[in-house]
Subunit: 313 residues, 2 copies
């Protein structure tokens, strides 16, 4: 038991990232039913669809679960009202200012966690009064910070900058990396990539199978002139890389991307034209597992490495 398991009333301090096109009620409820915290990813849902997923998630688990809300979501007022109406008690916010919604959510008795990529943002969370933070490193999939600080460097810095309960993210998907994160000062971990590739993830099986064959170096942080995003190798990524190499402007990149690229890649499994968002750690995973298998693996590995004894003279 630590501050993270207490805060969410969960057995293991493991949070499943609320990922666009992956994190629906099937994934979130399976994670919560296995002693960890499942999150719905509101970023890729209309307000109506989010309400349906919340209702299905409540029907599928009596354990705590939450919703991840990117703060630049266009109909954010509607989303937040649905969360309150449906009685969700945990919200993870990201990609925006934690000041905007924290007080309002607290007034509705909701626990607020904000995702950051630097100590500077962590200190803003402290001022905003959030209940915990996720510090996410450069190796994470999808949207990412501008500083490019890796999890190994980020966690000790953030730990030194705030006393808030701290969840590490980026490059974590095993019991070993979870233990490494705890040694560095985290009290819990948020895992995206490994859960995105489970049976219960709503991503296309074409996308999952493709990611399960990726190797080291097959993802790259691109689109830095817009919003830095880690993408897996495919023809779409190649087009972006070539455009950036010749100095394409933000406007040119926006036009190249167009609309609905991530949906195409992750949900529809269009490996040619879709945007494939996945973390570096994908290279470690070769077979599809259920959520229960993933959590069992992580917990067993964590317990095993916690018994290792590295004696110095």
């Amino acid at each position: 038991m630590n501050r993270i398991t207490s805060l969410f009333n969960i057995k293991y301090p493991i949070i499943q990232g609320g990922m666009a096109w992956c994190s629906g009620w099937r994934l979130a409820s399976a994670v919560s039913n296995n002693g960890c915290l499942g999150l719905l990813g509101a970023g890729s849902m209309t307000p109506d669809l989010l309400r349906q997923h919340i209702q299905k998630c409540k029907a599928a688990t009596d354990k705590p679960f939450g919703v991840n809300v990117p703060l630049m979501y266009p109909q954010i007022d509607e989303i937040m009202n649905i969360i309150v109406e449906e009685g969700v008690k945990i919200v993870f916010t990201s990609a925006g200012n934690p000041k905007t919604w924290t007080d309002w959510l607290h007034q509705h008795d909701i626990t607020v966690v904000h995702v950051v990529s630097s100590s500077n943002f962590a200190m803003k969370c402290d001022v905003a009064g959030v209940d915990a933070i996720v510090a996410e490193g450069f190796e994470a999939g999808g949207h990412n910070g501008r500083d490019e600080t890796t999890t190994l460097c980020l966690i000790p810095s953030v730990r030194a900058s705030t006393t808030l309960p701290l969840i590490a993210a980026g490059g974590i998907g095993t019991g070993q990396s979870m233990m490494a994160a705890m040694i560095l000062g985290a009290e819990g971990v948020q895992i995206g990539t490994r859960f995105a590739l489970t049976v219960e993830s709503s991503a296309s099986s074409v996308f999952k199978d493709y990611c399960l064959r990726l190797n080291e170096g097959d993802t790259k942080l691109l689109l830095k002139k817009l919003s830095p995003t880690r993408l897996a190798t495919n023809p779409f990524k190649k087009i972006i890389e070539e455009a950036e190499a010749r100095g394409a402007t933000a406007a040119e990149l926006l036009e190249l991307i167009g609309k609905g690229r991530a949906r195409k890649g992750i949900l529809e499994g269009d490996l040619e034209n879709g945007e494939l968002e996945i973390g570096q750690i994908t290279a470690l995973f070769r077979q599809q597992q259920t959520v229960a298998e993933v959590i069992k693996d992580i917990v067993e590995d964590f317990k095993r490495v916690s018994k290792l004894n590295f004696e110095l003279e």
Copy 2:
């Protein structure tokens, strides 16, 4: 005691990176005298100067030390002959094919370690018959791999790809990060940045003081069209960043860089025009220490975190 301490006959499995303009005889001998492995950085020395540093290092310590040799060094035959003539027994090679020199060095009874940035290169080291490898992640300072794999993701992958003794590098400078690396599968660590900033480092005190004030996000991996290099924020870096943003070619970048930039920045302390090579982890360090203080800190922190108990239910 493990395979790394046995291989080098040292007390702690900590290696000081052989860094250009930082790693002379003062730094290497101090590290070796404190129970770790010091390395001279041949990359920034003429053959004659390297011979002087080896001789001074032998006079300053009776403990094992080694030389780091970048394999693209122009007069490499001369360098290697000096190493043999002077009786150095440990060579770390980097930036080249481990096949080229490993057998010859072994014939002269020299232990060979090669630095890699991916599992693919690690497997080539296995075939080449090196005695150990250093796997260095994206967060490391100076020259870096093309895959941008962070230490947290790299170490487990490399560990799975070879049974060679494995030293982790990149983002490591504390007992906590050393323990994290061991949990991930490493048997030792190579530390660059923190040693580059010690009293005994031959870098300019202007450079050291500047690095000791850097924050998260103040280094960036640039020059990817040439050889990816992590640089600290300064007017020279800004020129490179702007050139890259507008799509500058490799030839244009080469011309912008000119000659002697790293010497200017690191050895001469020219913060305006010099190339300042340092790792991300620099943001964690705020005061100059001696080598003895650094090693004492790391060992104490390592021992302290090894006693922590992270119990899962």
